[in-house]
Symmetry: C2
Subunit: 211 residues, 2 copies
Amino acid sequence: MKLYDYPGVPNPRRLNIFMAEKGIDIPRVQVDLLKGEQLEPEFRAKSPNCDVPTLELDNGTCISQLNAVCRYLEAIHPEPPLYGSTPEEIGIIEMWNQICFTNGFQAVADLFRNGPDWFEGRALVGPHNYEKIPELVDRGRQRIMNFYGDMEQHLAEHKYIAGSAFSVADITALVTVDFAQWANVTAPDTHVNLKRWHTLVSERPSVRDNS
Amino acid sequence: MKLYDYPGVPNPRRLNIFMAEKGIDIPRVQVDLLKGEQLEPEFRAKSPNCDVPTLELDNGTCISQLNAVCRYLEAIHPEPPLYGSTPEEIGIIEMWNQICFTNGFQAVADLFRNGPDWFEGRALVGPHNYEKIPELVDRGRQRIMNFYGDMEQHLAEHKYIAGSAFSVADITALVTVDFAQWANVTAPDTHVNLKRWHTLVSERPSVRDNS
């Protein structure tokens, strides 16, 4: 196997934390996103949405999209389970992983990709170009603040995002919170439960080694 | 178990097709989205993102978010597998399910929810209100047309969205295409592979019974 990667950006960071939790390492090939290498035909043939991480198996099959790569790795390295073991855990973890991605991660992506500084003509990841919509910056900021508020309430009653055990939903939420800090959108100090959880998760070796 | 549902809208349709493929039936409770019942505190306590379908288990645990409900049902009724069986199938199906959701389904949702006719102040699903951004209507239309073009190319070489077998990715793509037709955004007749696939999938009893 080899992993097409670009260090330091959010989705590769999610995968690196996931792999560190499982003790997996895979040889890397760097795809330079700043130079637009992800849009070149050779890479698009491997990754239809032109994004990293993309995993190439030894038989040449390629798997992209963050949760698809992680689920493949979970299937071949089940321990520790990060998508749950019982039917109920599987459902609850998927629910929170989706909610954190949609309400948190995508909101931060909107904020970054539609702002003035980067991503000219590249408001969305994928093979097609789209112009920025500046209104998505303010809406992104509102959504992140609402996400923080919702997580504060939720974490008042739960140790981790999906309950009593660390899961892929914590990785999604943690990388969302840290990603939002790049844009100086931080949670108020009154969100004590969110901060308690953030400290707890940030102290894991998998996270410390991929900061 | 009971299923909080609202007939005729896209996510409940995805679940109905999924359950029909597995031969599952669950007693329903209607949540009237037009009256805003999904936003009432009693329902929000069951469904943190205030959406249907939401599944309530006999122990009171609730699972919402379409793929979370489906994955719970796949765990308790594994046959026929709609998220794959081998690690490679699991990865490939998740990849295409995500791509169809992000590039197709979310584009149609943007088009609908930001247009002039419905959803005043409710441009996004969830517990919080957001104003519409009219630019998302045109961008939604562009994205759907690009999604059709991408799928046309992909389906020239694949019988179903994720390869040789019907999967949850076909359900996501089919409901996306039909949902876009509500907005009169249809694929050109030259997209013969997309149309071949659409006819093939639409003839399944699970789809015919949930049209």
